[in-house]
């Protein structure tokens, strides 16, 4: 042995280098995964907070109560000058939708909230899809994922009373003046007697991209052709009147909405869903949404769809609205949790047999 450098080394620094390299890489992985920074808001924390009111296995963590619907979108071609998405060329695109109530309780009475939601999945040719989740309100209460999380925490039911602590709720809204427009609206809002008579707003801004590659900031909504609340009003003592109303109306014929796209002007906020755009902005009637049938949500085709609003075809892009990536990330967590429960995955909460198929 002439060359001592060829001997296996017992120098501690060499072992330290190895330990450091492996340790640094492992720590970086844990940091990026969020395990070292519990104070940094994650998709898991948002969904954990959404299920503070209790876990209902197999159900969505938010907008848990609802119904599946199916139909199609008949494009007028009017939006095709602003977006190259094939859904806006004249013609039909099949749609699977879902009406729902906000909140994590699948047994909440329909009159418990004045807001209804409408989610749509358009199936385009060549594997493309467009998914959108809309709400029957003019603005979103908060502008950022952190404020949304803080609102969930502040409005969480107090275990002692079963109701939110008015002091915490008041403190939250006082600290968040951007909630003003929502609060002003919700004061006068009444729970509607029907899903079908509501206007549903996509609240977040998006970009349409035209054939020349030019981007146009937009928001969209669907406005109903049916505008009668009379005759099918909520029946006293019936907590599930919306599903019955939907069945009755669809038994009489398809229900229609118009997809109206509002074009922003320079300076209109795209990153703030608490601010409505001025009412004089031009709108395009992009076509008619026709809903033909409904199915129970625990067996219908909408059950296993994650209505992630960032699933978009070429020709539509997300804006800089910070709520959109947070919705995508949190919806994915909710989707995995409920499909795990459907699959009876080990460790996933199970529904008790009496409540597993409530509808």
């Amino acid at each position: 042995m002439t060359d001592p450098s060829l001997q296996p080394s017992r120098q501690p620094w060499r072992w330290a280098v190895i330990a450091l390299a492996v340790g640094v890489l492992a720590a970086a992985f844990a940091y990026v995964g969020g395990w070292l920074t519990p104070q940094r808001l994650s998709s898991r924390q948002i969904v954990n907070q959404l299920q503070q009111g209790g876990v209902h296995p197999g159900f969505r963590r938010n907008h848990a109560k609802g119904a599946c619907v199916a139909g199609y979108f008949e494009s007028s071609g009017a939006a095709s000058a602003y977006s190259k998405a094939s859904v806006f060329a004249p013609g039909r695109t099949p749609v699977i939708g879902r009406f729902a109530l906000p909140g994590g309780n699948p047994y909440a009475p329909d009159s418990s909230v004045p807001i209804r939601s409408f989610a749509l999945r358009f199936t385009l040719p060549h594997g493309e899809q467009w998914r959108t989740g809309m709400n029957s309100m003019p603005v979103f209460p908060v502008a950022t994922p952190q404020a949304f999380y803080d609102q969930l925490v502040a409005t969480q039911p107090d275990p002692a009373t079963g109701k939110p602590d008015p002091k915490r709720v008041g403190a939250f809204f006082a600290a968040h003046p951007e909630t003003g427009p929502f609060l002003a609206w919700v004061k006068t809002a009444k729970p509607s007697a029907s899903y079908v008579t509501e206007t549903y707003e996509a609240l977040n801004a998006f970009y349409f991209v035209d054939a020349e590659g030019k981007r146009h900031a937009v928001r969209w909504e669907v406005t109903p052709e049916a505008n009668d609340d009379a005759g099918t009003g909520p029946q006293a003592g019936d907590p599930d009147y919306l599903a019955k109303d939907l069945q009755q109306r669809l038994a009489q014929g398809p229900q229609r909405w118009h997809l109206r796209v509002t074009l922003a002007e320079p300076g209109d906020p795209t990153a703030d869903a608490t601010k409505a755009w001025p009412a004089d902005r031009p709108t395009i009637d992009a076509g008619t949404l026709v809903i033909e049938s409904e199915q129970a949500q625990d067996s219908g085709p909408c059950r296993d769809i994650n209505y992630d609003p960032t699933v978009l075809p070429a020709g539509i892009e997300i804006s800089d609205d910070p709520l959109l990536p947070a919705r995508s990330s949190a919806y994915a967590v909710s989707y995995l949790r409920r499909t795990r429960e459907e699959a009876h995955f080990p460790g996933a909460p199970r529904a008790n047999p009496s409540s597993e198929h409530p509808q």
Binding site: M1, S5, L6, Q7, P8, S9, R14, W15, V17, I18, A21, V22, L25, A26, A28, F29, V32, G33, G34, L41, S42, S43, R44, I46, H126, G127, E128, Q129, P145, R303, D304, I305, N306, T310, V311, P313, A314, I318, D320, P322, L324, P325, A326, S328, S329, A330, A332, V333, Y335, L336, R338, T339, R340, E342, A343, F345
Partner: protein, 206 residues
């Protein structure tokens, strides 16, 4: 045995080395992209997600090419004085790495198919679904994707630790065989003699 032959026997083929280091960068990037995108609620979520799918497709194709290269140009033998258990761990972990490089992209593709998602590789380029729409199948594949990715990360950590152990502690020809094999190193490695001794550290080389 001439030097040219020795250098061929003692090191990985240059194409194998190129693929190894290219894929090392891609796979580490992929693991960090994956663990980050499912956790973050920031705008990073969107571009990480958009990067994850085409990167997975690229890793799958490169892994297929690399498997072909490995079969065509077999890797140099491990030092003969390595304990049998270490040799076994080396071979088993290498095949585990190949299995994970090939299976993770396929599980990801199948998982998105079962979830009914569009499988976008960027723009309007979409892959066809591998499986029919089924939420329960999605849940199983999604969890498989997660735990196989953790397994890949731990295997990569072990692989890196083992490479540094060869390079810094044993100082045999294993690390240079994948980095910059020099003629000197190869001469020390190639004519290995197995010496049955209870003191393996001091005896075997030359």
């Amino acid at each position: 045995m001439n030097t040219r032959h020795a250098s061929y026997a003692g090191a990985f083929h240059p194409l194998a080395r190129l693929l190894h280091w290219l894929m090392a960068v891609l796979i580490l990037t992929m693991l960090f992209v994956g663990v980050g995108m499912v956790s973050t609620v920031s705008e990073k979520h969107e571009w990480l997600l958009a990067l994850h799918k085409p990167l997975g497709a690229a890793i799958f194709l490169l892994a297929l090419i690399r498997l072909g290269v490995r079969l065509r140009y077999p890797p140099p033998p491990l030092p003969a004085d390595m304990p049998a258990i270490m040799k076994f761990a080396a071979h088993a972990s290498h095949w585990l790495l190949y299995a994970l490089m090939l299976s993770l992209p396929l599980v990801g593709w199948a998982m998105l198919s079962a979830g009914g998602y569009p499988i976008s590789l960027g723009g309007s380029l979409h892959l066809p679904p591998l499986l029919p729409f089924n939420g329960e199948v999605f849940a199983w594949l999604r969890e498989a994707h997660r735990y196989l990715a953790y397994l890949l990360f731990f295997t990569v950590l072990g692989h890196m630790g083992a490479a540094l152990y060869h390079g810094l502690i044993r100082r045999d020809g294993v690390l240079p065989s994948m980095t910059f094999p020099s003629k000197n190193e190869i001469v020390t490695v190639e004519p290995v003699v197995v010496v049955p001794t209870s003191e393996p550290p001091s005896a075997p080389l030359l």
